[in-house]
Symmetry: C2
Subunit: 202 residues, 2 copies
């Protein structure tokens, strides 16, 4: 049985690392930034612009960018265009076979497929802040706690905007894990166990 694992995640909960390790251990593809590259390679949008768009809703970043020439003219249509093109690609990738997809409302886009397992990862705020601090990121906010909270709000708004659902509400997912308790490796092991059980039950 194929298994398509989508991972929604709070900032700093380890979603990217867990998704990557899980895909490696299962020997299946992992799609994250790569997904965006695939859209970008089609030549319609520049890579850098897409990275700026990544899981932000235009209406939120618009005030900061509106003075750039021409930007405001294209903002809403471009954001939607990126989303719908990504949704199309996500469906194509899922049709190809088992994979792990992080973010991008993939849970919603693929809902109803019998091969789908929708995961949401969360963690205690202090652990998420510590994890991000350890990465040594440059941030524009006053401190890392603020950065984590602001980025969570962007993800939440993006998800609600395109799905009409509440980001992180367990009703929209099949497996929700607090990585402060499971650990990164614990979460990977649990998800791998689930995939193996599904394969056995086939």
């Amino acid at each position: 049985m194929n298994t398509i694992i989508t991972i929604g995640r709070e900032v700093g909960s380890g979603g990217h690392e867990i998704g990557l390790k899980l895909a490696e251990e299962l020997g299946i593809p992992f799609y994250d930034k790569l997904l965006i590259s695939m859209v970008a390679e089609e030549g319609e949008f520049a890579q850098k612009y897409l990275e700026e768009m990544d899981e932000k809703v235009d209406i939120h970043i618009a005030p900061f960018l509106a003075t750039r020439s021409n930007y405001s003219l294209y903002q809403m249509p471009v954001s939607d265009k990126v989303y719908f093109r990504q949704a199309e690609i996500i469906r194509e990738l899922a049709d190809k076979g088992s994979c792990v997809i992080v973010g991008r409302c993939a849970d919603y886009i693929l809902e109803g497929r019998p091969d789908l397992v929708r995961v949401f990862l969360y963690a205690d705020l202090k652990d998420r802040v510590a994890r991000k601090e350890a990465m040594g990121l440059e941030i524009i906010e006053s401190d890392m706690t603020k950065h984590v909270q602001v980025t969570d709000r962007k993800r939440s708004r993006y998800y609600r905007n395109y799905t009409g659902q509440i980001w992180g509400a367990k009703e929209n997912y099949d497996v929700c894990l607090n990585t402060s308790v499971t650990g990164i490796d614990g979460a990977v092991a649990m998800l791998k166990t689930l995939v193996e059980k599904r394969n056995q039950a086939e």
Copy 2:
């Protein structure tokens, strides 16, 4: 490392079976109806009465019972007395070592222990109704769907009454599993994997 696993669960999601199998596979005690017996054995309350009380808040069942002699006089104090005595016993059991405890707000009662893993199990309504129908229970409601929904509401009210928290909101749990997707054995295997990982990490 000890692991205390508490299981909250929607009616018909398989929580009892999952908890029992998990405890068996890990070779640790399982507390459910037994817990109530332990309270009852202390002689303060009759077994049958405790079973009636089990995860119902008096204020809800009172209207149906108020005509029974003396009942209304004791309803609130007895319900609270049962809860606080159970909470005390749950803490004593957790102090003894690894175990699985189903229901009874144990997640809330034990919150803050480093050896605690708080699980919540849910499932699609149609699967929960089918599971309960297969058990051939006698019910007072017009159909099994109604029975499942009414019993969920009782559990939700009981939990809110004693914890002030929302029953089933992922923030109050560490692992939330949709057993329609994981299956009974899948959920058992995932939780067993987590306990094994925690033991390795020791």
